[in-house]
Symmetry: C2
Subunit: 263 residues, 2 copies
């Protein structure tokens, strides 16, 4: 089993991803982003995506009610359905699910983000949270009957309210329950970069142990991503492949070790 | 088994619908519209919904690529996910599906609409079509495992492309395969009206035979609706209840015969 996380950047070659997946012998599930579609839509609707940085240095999107509406439209609506359509066109019998459908991904709402504002630390509470579990019965029911789940945010919180969540965390929780051998993460870079500004600085291999020390090196949203990678590695996955989603054959290249392999 | 068709008008009391459904003993599935959300979104995005009337007098939405994007956002995105969320909050384990998910609703793309334009008859081809069948295996798989399917457009055509379709036709095709005893249609009116401008002119009962003669009485989009009702009645459904979706207890009232009963 492979969990494929497809980034939501504008340059991801979704058609190439789906073509490669259609040729796979192994079962797989897809978790996708849609941040480019989301940001475009939010701007057009007059609710531009707001980002805050917590006092501990993690950057997050601030998700008010409008932001959840936009997520439903951009992720569960446009991006999910266009991806499902593409899958169907390549013989993959995809079923799109947000985390609230059949409580596919269940989480706990964040208590609030501690943010510095005008020289004060305040708590900002939004509709976001951490995934805590998945509906494994539903996901395996679909897989066992020949369907490929295509998952996205929002997820559902303890009060059955839709919340935003990080796909990296969702993948980690999925992996804990599904025990996939391989997690592929397709991004808009050739792999994990030693220097974010140098596309040739791809790290070919990182040991699970090394991930923690890397966490100290990076900043902003990348800090959260490396933290999530360390958590994912700790679930016992055999390998994590971070690879370029913009190329002709994103999945083939990932499986051939062209990006970064974490083992 | 009950098929509940929930209109996409602004005044439909979705919370009331879901509260009533949560109290039902019978299994049910939901098919919903989202035309108010769609029209708002389309206008905000600068792609206002286009309607044309065919030479034979049927009014239809003209669905170009942009319109399908908007349908994915409004129907499969915002309206479907907010409805699924509401269901989850009332203990209904809903799973939202567009017709392209698992090919839940399969159709054939229209060859084109014959339209009069500048004194000429031209063919306009768009991304719309008629439903021809449903994935009964997927729908019963979900129902048998305790999930309530919440269905909406787009549906999938013979080339695995997303197309727009009329919910009335989708309900008829669903009914042919699922053999529900009851179909409830919740609209923004107290029932089937003798006179569209007179809210007190509700017809309490219509026989299946009478439907055809009624088709000649009405115009525009209503013509299509009555035609679909006649087709639905012909599937052998025991009763169709057309009832007010704006009231406190839309489902209870429908089942108590407060709207129009077609038998």
């Amino acid at each position: 089993m492979i969990i494929v996380k497809v980034g939501g950047g504008r340059k991801i070659n979704l058609k190439g991803v789906v073509q490669d997946l259609a040729a796979l012998a192994e079962p797989f599930i897809i978790v996708h982003g849609a941040n480019a579609v989301r940001d475009d839509l939010a701007a057009k609707l007059g609710h531009p995506t707001k980002t805050v940085t917590s006092v501990s240095g993690y950057a997050s999107v601030l998700s008010d009610e409008n932001a959840i509406d936009v997520i439903m439209m951009a992720y569960a609506g446009l991006q999910n359905k266009r991806l499902v359509e593409l899958c169907q066109q390549h013989g993959i019998n995809a079923v799109g699910l947000s985390g609230i459908d059949g409580k596919a991904v269940q989480g706990a709402r964040n208590k609030g983000i501690r943010v510095r504002q005008n020289e004060k630390t305040i708590m900002m509470r939004d509709h976001s949270g951490k995934p805590r579990g998945v509906n494994k019965a539903l996901i395996t029911l679909l897989l066992d009957n020949g369907y490929v789940p295509v998952l996205c945010i929002p997820i559902i919180d303890e009060n059955n309210t839709a919340i935003n969540s990080e796909n990296d965390d969702i993948v980690a929780v999925l992996q804990e329950e599904l025990h996939a051998e391989t997690v592929i993460q397709l991004i808009e870079a050739p792999g994990f970069l030693n220097d974010a500004n140098d596309q040739t600085s791809v790290v070919a291999r990182i040991s699970k142990l090394e991930l923690e020390s890397r966490e100290a090196q990076v900043e902003g949203r990348m800090k959260r991503k490396v933290h999530a990678l360390a958590k994912l590695a700790a679930t016992g996955v055999q390998r994590i492949l971070i690879s370029d989603g913009r190329v002709e054959h994103p999945i083939q290249d990932a499986l051939n070790g062209k990006g970064t392999t974490i083992q």
